[in-house]
Symmetry: C2
Subunit: 218 residues, 2 copies
DNA sequence: GATACATTCAAAAAATCTGTTGAATGACAT
DNA sequence: ATGTCATTCAACAGATTTTTTGAATGTATC
């Protein structure tokens, strides 16, 4: 750490924050944390990392100011330190989506239904929720649902969806949502349901964005 | 590049964008490019880098989709690929500023006058510009001024300011600006002028933000 | 065409980052 | 106290990055 000009010191500090975003595993962890607090163990399992490795990534992000943690008994729970972090991740996605041909290809291949139907906007859904005209479907895993979800949402994790189609009404419109703008769960759920003749659309973005928009949650 | 799940591939792509922001020199280059197009040579000189090194950093950022370039005669001019990149950098600064104690210290030490006087908002300045009540002072280097500046602004680069105080009116308010929220030029100019009895305030942020806000430029 | 110039490429050394291992820490339960 | 559990630390090998050097590329100018 040679003593550079204060200006370069400042740039170096901001660069630390950016570096903390600069790894696939860390972005995956951040998406999980966008849902709410999680223990190291839960994050490691979801992201497919060893405990030690997850711990390292978490420590790095905490140092960079992206995360905060608190102790709860034996566990340590991590969370995003500030809503501004969610903004930052969103800005990153926006740039990546627009400018990276490779991302577009992946998105085009995997999210092929992407433009098949316009997503429902949060405002629209909030309005129609009040009128009770719509069934809201949360396709995230049960624990993420338990940690917070949209009002009146029913939870059918994606992998159970095929065998629980009867739990959904065929005559009402279904709106599916999951974690956020690049979460595939709702896309796949919508594709599956559409194949079975349901009237289904996706919610724009996901639960974290709904909550961040100040709309009611349960 | 092992073939991971598409999801992790997507994260890896976004991580590339973040990595491209993850170096002090690159953030410095980005701030310079926020002013407008620049040649490799100009960027290398300003950032204190060798040509080859600057070229490498630029190539990396172009690959990540942050920058675009075009040839103009012998030179190659780089620019930000998209306004979304400016948003991303702004989001990064916001997170860094809020969450990094070290940044706060640097800012507190170097930008000590920061809170001495509230900056003038863009709206305020735009309004008062119409009434002709205010002198706008651009303290960036002459070439950056030439590439674009606020209407009616006069250009006195910071290092010339001390010997050109007579060019400024003492009875009217002066509003100084420079490159952006973490540019020190306007802070130092304001401090200097205040010491000499001028009525001076800073504009919030800088030229790129003014332009991005859709306000008129020359 | 030959030359000058701005930029990029290629290669290599130095520095940094990643993921694994096994030991250390700190809190809870017996 | 002792044991257990979740997490962190320390250290290491392997992989990436960063920077420098000198040569190569492609454009304009003579």
């Amino acid at each position: 750490m040679s003593s550079q000009s204060p200006k370069q010191l400042l740039y170096a500090q901001f660069a630390e924050v950016a570096k903390a975003l600069g790894h696939g595993h860390r972005l995956e962890i951040l998406e999980l944390l966008a849902q709410g607090e999680r223990s190291v163990e839960a994050l490691a399992e979801r992201a497919g990392l060893s405990m030690a490795n997850a711990s390292q990534h978490l420590r790095l992000m905490r140092r960079a100011g992206l995360l905060a943690s608190r102790r709860n008994g034996k566990q340590i729970l991590y969370r995003m330190s500030d809503p501004a972090v969610l903004d930052l991740v969103a800005a990153l996605h926006r740039v990546g989506e627009r400018n990276l041909a490779e991302v577009r290809e992946v998105v085009a291949g995997y999210f092929h239904q992407r433009d098949a139907l316009e997503p429902v906007s949060r405002q629209d859904l909030a309005r129609r929720l009040k009128d009770g005209l719509v069934t809201v479907l949360d396709v995230r895993p049960a624990d993420e649902f338990a940690a917070g979800h949209l009002p009146q949402a029913i939870n059918i994790p994606l992998r159970e969806l095929a065998r629980r189609l009867r739990d959904l009404p065929k005559n009402r419109e279904v709106v599916a949502y999951c974690r956020g703008p690049h979460c595939v769960l709702a896309f796949e759920a919508a594709a599956l349901l559409r194949k079975h003749g349901f009237k289904v659309r996706r919610l724009e973005d996901g639960y974290p964005e709904w909550k961040a928009a100040g709309l009611p949650v349960n």
